[in-house]
């Protein structure tokens, strides 16, 4: 069964595929440039000690972003 949710809701260790990305301007562009495009596979690694930001793995490297920004990314779990 395929289930869509936002990236920030992935459990630690969970893997998903990027579906779409809302938002605009520099921040959205930055996220796209870092390799978060439709079809990219992301794995939730961990949250920082204070609960934010998050660390995710995408395209074979580790990327950190804030929860509020991860909320703009829709993913599909397998």
């Amino acid at each position: 069964m395929k289930k869509e949710k936002t990236l920030n809701l992935l459990k630690i260790g969970e893997q998903a595929t990027v579906v779409s990305l809302s938002g605009e301007g520099a921040l959205r562009r930055r996220i796209i440039d870092m390799g978060i495009t439709p079809g990219a596979v992301v794995i939730m690694r961990k949250a920082a000690p204070f609960g934010d930001p998050l660390e995710i793995n995408v395209r074979g490297y580790e990327l950190s972003m804030r929860k509020a920004d991860a909320e703009k990314i829709t993913v599909e779990c397998r």
Partner: protein, 687 residues
């Protein structure tokens, strides 16, 4: 002589030709953490020049190298992920690649992070200048058991690919030989049509329209940017209505059929092209879920429970080494060299050549004492920069930002600001210079603005002087309250400024956490040397000027006669003139004002000046000050404008006169207001 081997035997014509061989301009481009700086250092050694790009505080690095008798100028472009027009680094790189016409671009690609690195490659090759790919960290890739077929990359991107290891210094000769051959061939980069047919058709249409309005330069690059809706590029082009409608119609068509917007279409197709390339080129030798040493280390270092204690331990370590026994031992050593070795040597020399009194005083009391006080910080600054460079190059700094981001965001800063702020307790100079690691201008300015409120170690002697006279019993509490007050003012300042003048979007915190790596000693050394050199240059120019000025004001009266008693000097006259300003703060005597003025050279000078002005007897202070006015004075010293060395660092990093002025005025105003409040409110209770 250049190229002697080829020219000696081959006659006059060739000799003539060899003198025509021009210097080759090489631009190094690549992602952050791809090993670009390591390669740059390998190529140029210490033969490099670091400056700023005009108008921005992005570092501009250029160096000279010789290869096979060829003169080469290498410029190290800022590390970027994309040629978007948003960050200053991206703008600078884009401008250089498009308009400085490098003879060849070396695109450094981290082999262990191929997909994202090649994303920049797809953009660089659209510029259609000669490009060569340096596939770096090939040694680390092999260690993992992976292989990359360079032939596939060459074919797909249409550019030569040379595997290298910048840190192990392998493959670099081959890379340079090929790069130079291409640069001299001067052929245009062939167009690689990596997008889908539909997109390529629209790009071709845009190129055609561009050709009519703008000529031939960078057609493809510009066309792709226009397709994406790149606002900066659109500003530069005016198409007629018909062209505009035509382009818009076709882009819209693709957008609606694919359900994604134009910006994403381009990025998506680039990544698709890259994925297809990697599928063919990369053979993975490691099993699924394989963990590198770095992955294992990170499980501990950013562990939910261990991260914070480890971070604090690390910061304490840096602080302890720099300002604890090691650093202060070296600082004492430097002071000893200046005061007990250099000063007597120079003074006996001056006596032996019968130097006049004023010349003697200028050199000994002015230059050596003034510049010496600042130069004695050099060992600590070097240690701090060495440690910070190790943290940065090893990949830890990104984790520190990751750990601290949430706390700092509450006051409008990003995680990266923490380390420089902490360093401010040691010395404001390296702390302010350390803000260079902040990406966002707003963050950087705010951090520079509040760092001086972290009570620097040079202010300690001032506190100690007053505590010994007034607060002996409660000294730890008094000192603690002063430090705390500084932090409170810093937090309030950050809150106020981040909601008013420095309001703006929060810096995007989309940060790569690079793999942990062993920093290269050569790179570390060059980092530290760069700072030391910079510091010495400033010490020899601005700081020396300031020291001489203060010396002059302190040693002469308005009739330009040398005075033996500094209470007759210009400085004292100024002190008397400004003293009333501080009467509301409780220290309206001229000695305090003069001490504060000299404190601008170096904070310790407050103590030495006061000692001199009170005739060498510090217990006299109790006749001028009360405990309350002493505390108010300490408050003022804590908060007012930092020393000249720090001011020049602030000027340099702010990159703007306006902001430097704002910082100075703000700090003076805050110091006055807070110490006035301390004295006035305190008076209500003390009576």
């Amino acid at each position: 002589m250049a190229n002697s081997t080829t020219t000696i035997t081959s006659g006059q014509k060739d000799i003539h030709k060899s003198t025509e061989k021009k210097t080759i301009k090489i631009a190094l481009g690549g992602n952050p953490n791809c090993g670009k700086t390591t390669l740059f250092n390998q190529l140029t050694g210490s033969n490099q020049y670091v400056g700023n790009w005009p108008g921005v505080t992005v570092e501009k690095k250029e160096g000279k190298a010789r290869f096979q008798g060829r003169e080469i100028i290498v410029s190290d472009l800022p590390g970027i992920y994309s040629l978007s027009p948003y960050t200053p680094e991206e703008i600078v790189t884009r401008h250089t690649l498009l308009h400085d016409n490098p003879d060849i671009i070396i695109d450094i690609v981290d082999a262990t992070n191929l997909e994202r690195n090649l994303y920049l490659t797809t953009q660089i090759q659209e510029i259609q200048r000669p490009v060569i790919i340096a596939l770096n960290m090939i040694d680390l890739l092999e260690k993992r058991g992976d292989t990359i077929d360079c032939k596939v990359l060459e074919k797909r991107f249409g550019v030569p690919v040379v595997p290298i290891s910048a840190s192990k210094n392998t493959g670099i000769d081959t890379l340079m030989a090929k790069a130079i051959a291409i640069a001299e061939g001067g052929q245009q980069q062939p167009v690689q049509r990596l997008y889908s047919k539909k997109v390529e058709r629209v790009i071709a249409d845009i190129q055609e329209a561009l050709f009519e309005v703008d000529g031939k330069e960078h057609l493809r690059f510009t066309a792709v940017k226009l397709f994406e809706g790149d606002s900066v590029t659109w500003e530069n082009y005016k198409f007629n209505k018909q062209q505009q409608d035509h382009i818009e119609f076709h882009i819209n068509e693709i957008e609606t059929t694919q359900y994604i917007d134009r910006e994403m279409i381009i990025a998506d197709e680039r990544y698709k092209f890259i994925c297809a390339t990697c599928e063919r080129a990369v053979t993975k030798g490691h099993p699924q879920g394989y963990e590198t040493m770095s992955d294992k280390a990170d499980k501990v270092i950013t562990n939910k429970y261990l991260a914070l204690p480890l971070f604090l331990l690390m910061m304490f370590g840096v602080f302890f080494i720099t300002f604890g026994p090691v650093g202060s031992y070296l600082k004492d050593g430097a002071e000893w060299l200046i005061l007990d070795v250099l000063t007597p040597q120079v003074s006996s020399l001056l006596v032996s050549i019968n130097a006049s009194d004023w010349a003697f005083s200028l050199i000994i009391d002015g230059i050596i004492a003034g510049v010496g006080a600042v130069v004695s910080f050099l060992p600590q600054i070097s240690i701090l920069f060495l440690l910070l460079s190790i943290l940065e190059d090893s990949g830890y700094m990104a984790r520190a930002a990751f750990i601290m981001d949430k706390l700092l965001r509450m006051i409008g800063l990003s995680g990266r600001a923490f380390v420089p702020m902490l360093m401010g307790f040691g010395c404001t100079v390296p702390a302010v210079l350390g803000t260079r690691t902040l990406e966002n201008e707003k963050d950087k300015r705010l951090t520079i603005l509040i760092t001086p409120f972290m009570s620097c170690s040079a202010k300690m002697p001032v506190y100690l002087l007053f505590i010994s006279v007034f607060f002996n019993e409660s000294s730890p509490l008094v000192i603690f309250s002063i430090y705390l007050l500084g932090i409170l003012v810093a937090i309030l300042t950050a809150l106020i400024f981040s909601r008013t003048i420095l309001k703006g979007k929060d810096a995007p915190f989309v940060l790569e956490l690079p793999p942990y790596r062993m920093p290269s000693p050569k790179t570390l050394w060059l980092h530290v040397w760069e700072r030391v050199k910079d510091f010495l240059v400033r010490a020899g120019t601005i700081l020396m000027g300031a020291a001489v000025l203060i010396w002059f004001l302190q040693s002469f009266n308005f009739r330009l006669e040398q005075v033996s008693d500094s209470s007759q000097s210009i400085l004292a006259t100024i002190g008397i003139a400004i003293a009333p300003i501080f009467s509301l703060c409780g220290f309206g005597d001229w000695q305090s004002s003069v001490s504060l003025l000299t404190g601008i050279v170096a904070k310790e000078s407050v103590v030495s000046t006061m000692t001199v002005l009170f005739g060498g007897d510090t217990s006299m202070i109790s006749q001028v000050f009360t405990p309350l006015s002493a505390y108010s004075f300490m408050t003022f010293v804590l908060l007012y404008t930092p020393c000249v060395a720090a001011l020049s660092a602030i000027g340099k990093e702010m990159g703007s006169r306006k902001w430097t002025a704002i910082a100075i005025v703000y700090q003076l105003a805050v110091a006055w207001v807070v110490s006035m409040l301390v004295f006035q409110i305190g008076s209500l209770f003390v009576g």
